[in-house]
């Protein structure tokens, strides 16, 4: 019975590209939609922060230091009497861009390298994978300290430093996927039909290996946000007074026994953002799965 329905749907289905199709199916997944909406709203709130809160992220009020949440300061104030809610909103700018921009670098570098490595195999694969081995042991802290001291404390350096080291995981994942897909029927078919190497990689192997890659990226966005927090923790974070969620968590960490709310709110914010990315990622994965086309 299933087989019959499936044939009917396939024949009745208007032709869409892989991505167009995915978009249509994504819209039907409410959780994914909720995730996407949350991320968009957060981005919007970050951009429109000056309209949402009367406080600036650097406005110090030394008479209102480390206050607990109240109507005036919904998330309390920090050690310099700055409004934690305002800092959270403005901090979203930093954290979202750290998460997204580093993953952009990761994809731009990691995806093609992994795909080429997996598809080409042989010497190329071996060479690339040994390079990846080098990257795994790469002393990223040294690179970050160096980039920071040479190019200044700008946040772009942080993106670059985290992204330049983080792509290896994705490229290994893609390679594993490609290796496993390479020998499958539809690839053989494409090859038998005269598809060229590049064409097969881009048109068939890459889209089909995207599922786990997208899942891994949705996980890596918060990982990058964490990386920024960790760098703050060991003393090479963003330039103050610019807030970031990582830096807020670091600052809050120092006060966890005194004023736990200073760490709880940014931690919840990161958790919600992560949840949103996870739902979106799952939705995307399902949407991109060619075998799920309806």
């Amino acid at each position: 019975m299933t087989v019959v329905t499936k044939i009917e749907t396939v024949s009745a289905r208007p032709h869409h590209t892989l991505w167009g199709d995915a978009f249509i199916r994504l819209r039907r997944n409410y959780l994914a939609l909720a995730g996407a909406v949350f991320i968009l709203l957060l981005a919007l709130a970050a951009i429109l922060a000056p309209l949402i809160t009367p406080y600036g992220f650097a406005d110090q009020n030394l008479d209102e230091i480390m206050e607990s949440p109240s109507w005036k300061h919904p998330m309390g104030t920090d050690e310099l009497g700055r409004d934690a809610f305002a800092r959270l909103l403005y901090g979203a700018r930093t954290s979202l861009s750290v998460g997204i921009f580093t993953q952009f670098i990761v994809i731009v570098i990691g995806l093609p390298i992994g795909a080429i490595s997996g598809y080409a195999g042989g010497k190329t694969d071996n060479f690339i994978m040994r390079f990846v081995d080098v990257m795994y042991a790469f002393p990223d802290i040294l690179l970050i300290i160096l980039l920071r001291s040479v190019l200044g404390g700008s946040i772009y350096m942080l993106f670059l430093a985290i992204g330049l080291v983080a792509w290896v995981g994705v490229s290994r994942l893609v390679r594993g996927q490609v290796l496993s897909l390479k020998s499958r029927d539809f690839v053989s078919a494409a090859r038998a039909m005269g598809g060229m190497g590049n064409y097969i990689t881009w048109r068939h192997l890459l889209p089909n290996s995207l599922g786990p890659v997208i899942v891994s990226i949705t996980f890596n966005i918060p990982r990058a946000i964490f990386a920024e927090a960790a760098l703050s923790y060991i003393g090479i974070g963003v330039q103050p007074p610019t807030p970031s969620w990582g830096a807020m968590i670091r600052d809050g960490y120092n006060l966890i026994f005194a004023k736990p709310h200073l760490i709880i709110f940014p931690a919840i914010a990161i958790a919600l953002l992560l949840l949103a990315f996870t739902f979106l990622g799952d939705g995307l994965r399902d949407a991109l799965d060619p075998k799920l086309r309806r």
């Binding site: 195999g121 042989g122 071996n126 040994r130 081995d133 080098v134 795994y136 042991a137 790469f138 002393p139 802290i141 040294l142 690179l143 300290i145 160096l146 001291s149 290896v168 995981g169 290994r172 994942l173 594993g176 996927q177 290796l179 496993s180 020998s183 029927d185 599922g211 786990p212 899942v215 891994s216 996980f219 918060p222 990982r223 964490f226 927090a229 960790a230 923790y233 060991i234 990582g246 968590i249 960490y253 966890i256 026994f257 760490i263 931690a267 990161i270 958790a271 992560l274 949840l275 996870t278 739902f279 799952d282 994965r285 399902d286 799965d289 075998k291 799920l292």
Partner: protein
Amino acid sequence: MFKFIVRRILWLVLVLFVVSLITFTLMHLVPGGPWDREKQLAPQVVDALNKRYGLDKPLYEQFGNFLWGVVQGDLGVSYSFQGRGVTEILLKGLPRTAILGILAFILAQAVGIPFGMAAALKQNSTTDYASVIFSTIFASIPGFVLGILLMILFSVALHWLPTGGWGSPLQLIMPVICLAALPAAQSARITRASTLEVMRQDYVRTARSKGLPENVVRVRHIFRNSLIPVVTVAGPELANLITGSFIIENLFSIPGVGRLFVQGVFARDYGLIMGGVLFYAFAIAILNLVVDVLYAAIDPRIRFD
């Protein structure tokens, strides 16, 4: 297969060389040397220290000396832990970090894989959402925050566990949980994704239509095949865990190898940096080799060319 392993080990030598060279270069490019202090040392003292540690020699000679030492199995001396060799320091800390790492790895997989699998088999069910939310919560707390929260709960409030240190099994519990949290969540997510993928493959449908019992299909076809991406991610994860985490070892005062490299970097302890990075590179490359061999064992379609 044997040839493959031998070739990879030969490659490893080159990888280690390249990693050492990159690290050595970066280390000397980074501003600040081992003797830069908040309170500056007298120039005579700096000269004497440079002489003592061979830093007065040209860089290529220093690098050559390092390599020559490595060939003889000596990773040099630490500048910050005076009077102790880097090899000695690493060997002393390695078993501790490895025990923590392996325990955390086992915990992560033991929790992550069944969760992910269960979520996939019942896609869009309560189990599915519960596993997503559970893994997200654990993955969304930075290690040092999770660590201090556990410490506040188990040490400060309940007085059940010591806050850190090494020596008794009780001291392992919190660091292992912290180390396992993120990999467990990751493993659950990847397992879920790849299981969903595999469940729709033709061979699964074929197996089902052959009339194989559902359990057999699940174990023999779905489980085995859905592990490929899991293994891909788990390999580096294991390497990561065995080489340790600066933040967790720092928080729980674990005398392992995980914090040595970062400590070395911040102290500009050239000995510790070079020895540490070589050790990490070696451990990671070997573990990745193991993963590649495992690949072949799991996925019969992969052959070594």
